[in-house]
């Protein structure tokens, strides 16, 4: 790893809390690899969540089948609200993915050691969230069977896509994001897959992990190339953290619609994405570390830091709301002015106030170290933020569309059961993939944790007292 040169430097006090308990290389590897290799050790909640997710996934399949059969008219979209749940959920899922990339790439470049124990499953979360998001732009088109026309490819029609359209930028942004995230995640997995290959007793597992390990033997040359590749990927990913959601925000900012046509959108969308992403990481990390006894690795310190980032990005997002309202008034533009008024007092006002409570008010409890230290509070706040960010997209998309310039064409947007079916279905897909991942791949980077052990305790760590008192109960 790039930070190996710092291994001998003294660690900061806070960093000492990143690993709890009497861990050495062996226990770290045992604990993490054990989740995958001991297939009998999965807790009941895994089966419960997986079964529910699988059910919802099947519901989504039914929804998509009917959607392809009847058309997008099964949804609640209409004139004037041409976009509804489709784009709300697209933006929501893309946003959730952002925390993963931020953790893996930016925190890596900034040498934040606390990323180590959460980056792997945050990256997986990114990947699955982007997969969920990717379904929407495809399926929201009226004729999904020709949606490939959005890609630039040589064709007999002699037609390129229209490069002025933000939707084309989206295609590039999201597909690049998906590719880089997948590569990043996979490259990071290679050494761990080799560990699993070496430890697996089951022949099939050995073969499969062996294929994934790409012949990794852990030689110095491997490590050297690995680190170069990983660093380059991190460098590639870093601009993506900022660019993908900026470009998604261009879908709106480039238009002429009041409520969309706003220059604050790119930074505000990026901040919102990270906000939502950390909320989702917390939502996943808190129960999983409990179910799999990983509190030594994902410590309360990790949660604390994630909460702080959430608070910071949340404040940026609130700043965005305040600026939108301010400029609605200050611009003197009647359409912008009405938009703000309509958000506050129109038919969707409860959602707007709900948004402010979810994203603006509730997360302020995170100022208090005492509340931040409370895991149930953190879990609750992260759920509230996820809801808030979803509401934000609802406020931005249909609420701006439903009353625009000419009052004669104003309407209402009401989602149908099929809208909900599709949304809940993608939640099913997400958790389905996430829980498969937890069960069949190491959810925490084993070799990076070993690296952390080295840096926190040096080679003589075996006989030392624990750095902090373990709060861990034995894994179930």
């Amino acid at each position: 790893m790039s930070h190996s040169s710092h291994a001998s430097q003294p660690t900061h006090g806070a960093d000492r809390e990143l690993l709890i308990g009497a861990h050495d290389y062996g226990t770290v590897t045992d604990r993490i690899a054990g989740v995958v290799l001991n297939q009998r050790g999965h807790p009941l909640p895994w089966f419960a969540v997986f079964a529910l997710a699988f059910l919802l996934l099947n519901g989504m399949m039914l929804t998509i089948t009917y959607l392809l059969y009847r058309g997008v008219g099964i949804w609640g979209i209409n004139q004037p609200a041409g976009w509804g749940f489709d784009i709300i959920n697209f933006v929501w899922w893309i946003g959730i993915g952002h925390a993963g990339t931020l953790i893996s790439a930016i925190l890596l470049l900034m040498r934040q050691q606390w990323r180590t124990s959460i980056n792997r499953f945050a990256e997986a979360m990114t990947l699955f969230a982007v997969a969920c998001a990717g379904l929407y732009p495809l399926l929201h088109t009226g004729r999904p069977w020709v949606a490939y026309w959005l890609f630039p490819y040589p064709n007999v029609m002699g037609m390129w896509p229209q490069f002025r359209s933000p939707l084309i930028w989206d295609v590039f942004a999201v597909s690049t994001y998906m590719t880089v995230s997948a590569l990043f995640w996979f490259v990071g997995l290679v050494p761990d897959l080799a560990t699993l290959r070496d430890r697996a007793r089951n022949k099939v597992a050995r073969i499969l992990f062996g294929i994934g390990a790409l012949g990794w033997r852990g030689s110095a040359r491997h490590w050297s190339r690995y680190e170069a590749a990983y660093l380059m990927l991190a460098g590639l990913s870093t601009p993506l953290v900022l660019s993908v959601h900026s470009i998604v925000s261009f879908d709106f900012a480039v238009s002429v619609l009041p409520g969309w046509h706003t220059t604050v959108f790119p930074p505000y969308f990026v901040a919102g994405a990270i906000y939502a992403g950390f909320a989702m990481v917390l939502t996943l990390a808190i129960p999983i570390r409990a179910w799999y006894g990983l509190k030594d690795f994902i410590t309360d310190k990790h949660l604390d830091w994630m909460a702080k980032i959430m608070l910071a990005t949340g404040l940026i997002v609130v700043y965005g709301y305040v600026m939108e309202m301010f400029f609605g008034w200050y611009s003197g533009n009647p359409y912008e002015g009405y938009l703000i008024k309509n958000r506050m007092t129109g038919p969707y006002a409860p959602l707007f106030w709900g948004l402010l409570i979810c994203n603006g008010v509730v997360p302020q409890v995170l100022w208090s170290p005492r509340w931040r230290a409370s895991v149930p509070v953190l879990f609750a706040v992260s759920l509230v933020v996820s809801v808030g960010m979803w509401l934000e997209r609802f406020i931005i998309i249909p609420v701006s569309l439903h009353r625009d310039f000419l009052p004669s064409s104003w309407g209402m947007y009401v989602p149908t059961l099929w809208d909900w079916g599709m949304f809940i279905g993608t939640l099913g897909l997400f958790f389905f993939l996430m829980f498969l991942f937890i069960r069949f791949l190491p959810m925490i980077s084993i070799f990076e944790m070993r690296d952390l052990v080295l840096r926190l305790r040096g080679h003589r760590s075996e006989s030392r007292e624990p750095i902090a008192k373990s709060t861990e109960v034995e894994p179930v």
Binding site: R70, G71, V72, G73, I74, G76, I77, N78, Q79, P80, A81, G82, W83, H140, T141, G142, R143, P144, V146, A147, W149, L150, M159, W160, P161, Q162, R164, S165, P166, L167, I168, V171, D251, V254, S255, V256, L257, P334, Y335, Y338, L401, D404, F405, L406, P407, S408, S409, W410, G411, M412
Partner: protein, 1017 residues
């Protein structure tokens, strides 16, 4: 073309082959001779034998092989006969032998007429390879002058209605024409001795000279027989009113173009009166303000329901229908007529004073018009007022009645019902009427009809009346049969068929002729009638001319010179027509529905889905109540209320309607039908269930009670924000610009004095981007709509729908906000909710120079043409809907579902305009400025080696518009009409500040208020 030929040929061989096998069969037909299979198939015995599922009492099982083949062969031959009905079979010449001057793929136009309640409007029917696909107004016809109304346009859809009856039905079971004739002729024969005492004929209001002649001949043969004309929306009051005024019924004909001041008393000459298409042109021609026409008429409307007339008028006075008489009397008194004094409020008094001052100042150039629903005494009073004002002979003239045998429709129907109930009627022939549904609630027509042995109903579709009749005969649509009619001024037109009857129907003329024992084809009957009417001299030329022009020259009724009778006769009953002061309690008024009329168009999807003027309701009627009345009764918009009138009850959804007079419930007729096919059955509620003989139009004593249940209307506009007791429909936005006429004149004079040629409008906004992204070296198509002239009549909407193959989506989809109309008429209220100002604004694709939709489409499916059209490439569209989201005018329409799917109803395919793509599911669409018409004109011009002339391209909306509010043309040509319109000082772009630079601009609405009333308004 060749396939048609082959089919003809193939049919020939089948006929020969089958012919020999039918030798046995023909011997069964009592030795009758038959020349063709058509004729053979028409014999009742044969039809009965073939159509009977188990033919001729002999089970199929007992048939031997030979007989089985005979039956099979006959069925096969019949299948061949019924195939391909839309081509005229008798003269089905294979196209391999090219028909002279028929170019395949090129539409042909035929002059004909469309009839509503007897009154004809001349149209030119477009025929694409034998299919009528569009109706345009006939510029030569006085009732059209090239324009149409929405209902006229929509009659085309009735032709292709899959719910039309396809067989003669006897008590609902399939029968044959011959069986029908045999039965009716037998009944007639049995009546011969009684001189037809048991024979009754019931028609709608008819003006057809030929049909009247046919019926008269039948009556001559059966002198005791009776002929009644019934219309639910009838003109009994006009008839009685003119009789009261002049001693005999007369037909008032207006020439609004000569009037500077028009006062309407609960009348809507723009939308409802016979001749309204012409009247709209005439009235609005007085409001055309151009550099060369600098005057404006002034319209006063006293009315009980907010109509397009009231919305267009400079001054509108909303009063309950019973108060209309009071106001009329007040005006008459101030005009110096000897009428009783009445008390009216101060505000009303000021209104009346201003109106009277204008009327007096414009003697000889003004007119008073009374609505058909007001009592006869008021019509007589108006006749006196018009005489006093010198309007007779200029703005109003009188002719002999349009309707032959014009009698009291209501009295006639009551008499008929009584006779039926008293078992006096043996044979009842009903031509295209539906009294079981639309008779007043206290005329038990349906009950009485069951007592009539031989009841015959001729109609396009089954309806409530046909259900109770022994015989139901499919009627030929007016585009399928020969006929004739008269326009509002008496001008006769010959109706010519454009297509053979799709379902083998008969016209009323043919039916009556067949009963009288002269079964001839409609063509011969109509032609012979006119030969005798016009004389044989030079008849062939005149006949051809009449067919070609769509009217018979010189047939308009001459003006009769009459004087109003002495006051004691003409003003009889006036005091009863005056409302007795401020009566307590709620009143009710009935009105024909603006789109489906009295229910006869309930099966017409275009008209059902057409947003009604003012209310913007689709697929529904409602109990309209004023905002203040709603508040007093604590009724909200969409509450289901129970209306009770003299023991009769109806549950209706309430709609709070700005501009509705206080304490008045207005109910539109035509809804709540039980037998109106798949489209019209069980839609809305039946207002007719409350209507009684003594209160055909309005009465008091209705009670309204909330049921506590709610109802959702499929409205296309949802908002009229009320703030501080004022409605502000445009939310204070600069959408509809309105300016007083006087102010505009003053402004322009100032501008001229300042010698400034700088236009006061259309200043270009600064931009960082190049001014003209697109270079145009040819035409630049543009449009101008004069908001002063738009009456909100909806003709353009249906014209566009017909021209551009726009599907009907149904109520459920309208509720979701997915109506597909490419042009819509936006309606905004402004001011006091009880008496608002109404603005109409037609909105279609603006074809912006800087179109926001274009850059956001990811696949370049919407692009700019080299002539500046914003084009939609359907087969490139993937359906992201981004263009629609980014359209500030929201004129784009998306096929959320497969709305245009006609696979399940193949007959609908015949309706489609072949020059416009039918859009599939998932594709965006919008107004194209009728690009197919632009291209047709361009091709024509190229062929002749000349540029496209100004006025050569006429869009569908423009063609239909009665007041000619829409101008289209090339803005690159500074002399084109559209360029001239755009140079007017009141030209403006909608949402100008977005810098979209629309190709469609509007001319600000001008008002011409009386100076004394201006302040209060």
């Amino acid at each position: 073309m060749s396939s048609v030929g082959e089919r003809q040929e193939a049919r020939g061989t089948v006929q020969e082959m089958v012919g020999s096998r039918l030798a046995d069969l023909s011997s069964r037909l009592s030795g009758r001779q038959w020349r063709s299979l058509d004729e053979l198939a028409d014999t009742p015995e044969f039809q009965a034998w073939v159509e009977d599922e188990f033919p001729e009492r002999a089970s199929l099982l007992t048939l031997d092989r030979r007989k089985f083949f005979q039956v099979m062969g006959a069925s096969l031959a019949l299948a061949g006969l019924t195939g391909c009905r839309f081509l005229p079979q008798r003269r089905a010449v294979p196209f391999v032998q090219a028909v002279e001057d028929l170019v395949p793929g090129k539409p042909r136009y035929y002059a004909t007429a469309v009839v509503l309640a007897g009154i004809g409007t001349g149209v030119l029917a477009r025929s694409n390879d034998g299919r009528p696909t569009k109706l345009e107004g006939n510029p030569l016809h006085p009732g059209s002058l090239g324009a149409t109304d929405a209902i006229t346009q929509a009659t085309l859809l009735d032709l292709y209605d899959p719910d039309r009856t396809r067989n003669v039905l006897r008590n609902g079971a399939i029968s044959t024409w011959d069986a029908f004739l045999a039965d009716v002729r037998a009944t007639l024969a049995s009546q011969r001795a009684a001189r037809g005492a048991g024979v009754r004929i019931l028609t709608g209001a008819i003006t057809s000279p030929t049909l009247a002649d046919q019926i008269q001949r039948l009556l001559d043969a059966y002198p005791e027989a009776r002929w009644y004309q019934w219309e639910a929306v009838n003109r009994d009051n006009v008839r009685a009113g003119t009789e009261q005024a002049f001693g005999r019924p007369l037909n008032p004909v207006y020439s609004f173009d000569t009037a500077n001041v028009v006062l309407t008393l609960d009348a809507d000459p723009l939308d409802q009166m016979p001749g309204h298409v012409r009247y709209a042109r005439d009235i609005m021609s007085g409001r055309v303000v151009r550099p060369d026409a600098r005057s404006m008429n002034r319209l006063y409307a006293v009315e009980s329901v907010l109509s397009n007339m009231g919305a267009t008028a400079d001054h509108r006075l909303p009063v309950r229908p019973r108060e209309v008489g009071t106001i009329a009397v007040a005006i008459a008194r101030r005009l110096g007529l000897d009428v009783p004094g009445v008390t009216i409020s101060d505000a009303q008094s000021r209104w009346v004073d201003a109106c009277v001052a204008d009327l007096k100042a414009n003697k000889g150039q003004c007119v008073v018009v009374v609505g058909d629903h007001q009592p006869p005494a008021l019509h007589a009073l108006a006749a006196r007022m018009n005489e006093e004002l010198g309007a007779v002979g200029s703005a109003v003239s009188y002719t002999e009645p349009l309707y032959p045998n014009w009698h009291d429709a209501l009295g006639g129907l009551s008499e008929l019902t009584d006779d039926m109930d008293a078992d006096k009627v043996r044979l009842l022939i009903m031509l295209g009427v539906n009294p079981v549904y639309d008779a007043p609630a206290d005329v038990p027509f349906g009950k009485a009809l069951k007592k009539v042995g031989c009841a015959v109903h001729l109609g396009l579709r089954k309806n409530e009346t046909s259900e109770l009749s022994r015989w139901h005969v499919p009627e030929a649509h007016s585009l399928e049969a020969w006929g004739d009619c008269r326009a509002y001024d008496g001008t006769a037109s010959v109706i010519q068929p454009i297509i053979r009857p799709l379902f083998g129907g008969k016209s009323a003329i043919e039916l009556i002729a067949s009963l009288a024992g002269r079964p001839r084809d409609g063509y011969q009957i109509v032609r012979e009638h006119w030969r005798s009417a016009l004389g044989t001299a030079d008849f062939d030329r005149r006949w051809r001319r009449a067919i070609h022009d769509g009217l018979i020259e010189g047939t308009e009724f001459p003006t009769v010179s009459v004087r109003v009778q002495s006051p004691d006769r003409s003003l009889r009953g006036l005091s009863e027509a005056i409302a007795p002061g401020r009566s307590a309690g709620l009143e009710v008024a009935f009105a024909p529905d603006p789109t489906i009329w009295d229910g006869r168009f309930a099966s017409n999807g275009w008209l059902q889905e057409l947003p009604k003027p003012i209310t913007r309701l689709t697929w529904d009627n409602a109990a309209l109540i004023a905002p203040s009345t709603a508040q007093a009764a604590s009724v909200a918009d969409g509450d289901l209320v129970e209306l009770q009138l003299r023991g009769r009850t109806v549950v209706a959804p309430a709609k709070v309607q700005p501009g509705q007079p206080k304490d008045l419930v207005t109910l539109h007729l035509g809804y709540g039908r039980s037998q109106a096919g798949a489209i019209g059955s069980l839609v809305g509620f039946s207002a007719g269930a409350l209507r009684t003989r003594d209160a055909m139009w309005f009465t008091s004593g209705i009670s309204l009670r909330r049921t506590g249940r709610r109802y959702t209307f499929a409205k296309t506009e949802h908002h009229h924000a009320i703030r501080d007791g004022k409605i502000n429909g445009t939310q204070g936005r600069d959408i509809v610009r309105v300016m007083p006429f006087a102010e505009m004149e003053a402004d322009e004079q100032d501008a001229n004095h300042a010698a400034s040629h700088e236009p006061a409008h259309g200043g270009e906004h600064p931009s960082l981007y190049p001014r003209d992204e697109h270079a145009y070296d040819g035409h630049r198509w543009g449009m101008s709509i004069d908001l002063s002239l738009c009456t909100g009549c909806n003709a353009c909407v249906i014209a566009c729908q017909a021209e551009n193959n726009i599907p009907v989506v149904g109520k459920e989809q309208v509720l979701r906000g997915r109506e597909m109309h490419w042009i819509r008429i936006d309606r905004y209220y402004e001011g006091d909710p009880d008496d608002p100002t109404v603005h109409h604004q037609p909105v279609l694709c603006m074809h912006c120079e800087n179109a926001p939709c274009e850059p956001v489409c990811p696949v370049a499916a919407t692009v700019h043409s080299h002539e500046g059209l914003n084009q939609m490439v359907y087969n490139r569209c993937v359906g992201t809907r981004y263009c629609s989201n980014n359209c500030p005018y929201k004129v784009r329409r998306f096929n959320f579902l497969n709305y245009a799917n006609h696979h399940d109803v193949p007959i609908k395919q015949l309706l489609q305009n072949p020059n416009v793509t039918v859009r599939g599911r998932g594709v965006m669409e919008k107004c194209t400025f009728c690009v197919q018409r632009i291209n047709a004109a361009r091709i024509e011009a190229k062929k002749q080696g000349r540029p496209v002339r100004d006025g050569e391209v006429v869009t569908a909306c423009q063609a239909a518009c009665p007041p000619q509010a829409i101008v289209f043309g090339d803005i690159a040509d500074p002399n084109s009409a559209v360029s001239r319109a755009k140079r007017e000082s009141r030209d403006y772009s909608l949402l100008d500040d977005l810098n979209t630079r629309p190709r469609l601009t509007y001319l600000a609405k001008l008002t011409n208020k009386h100076p004394q009333l201006e302040k209060s308004a």
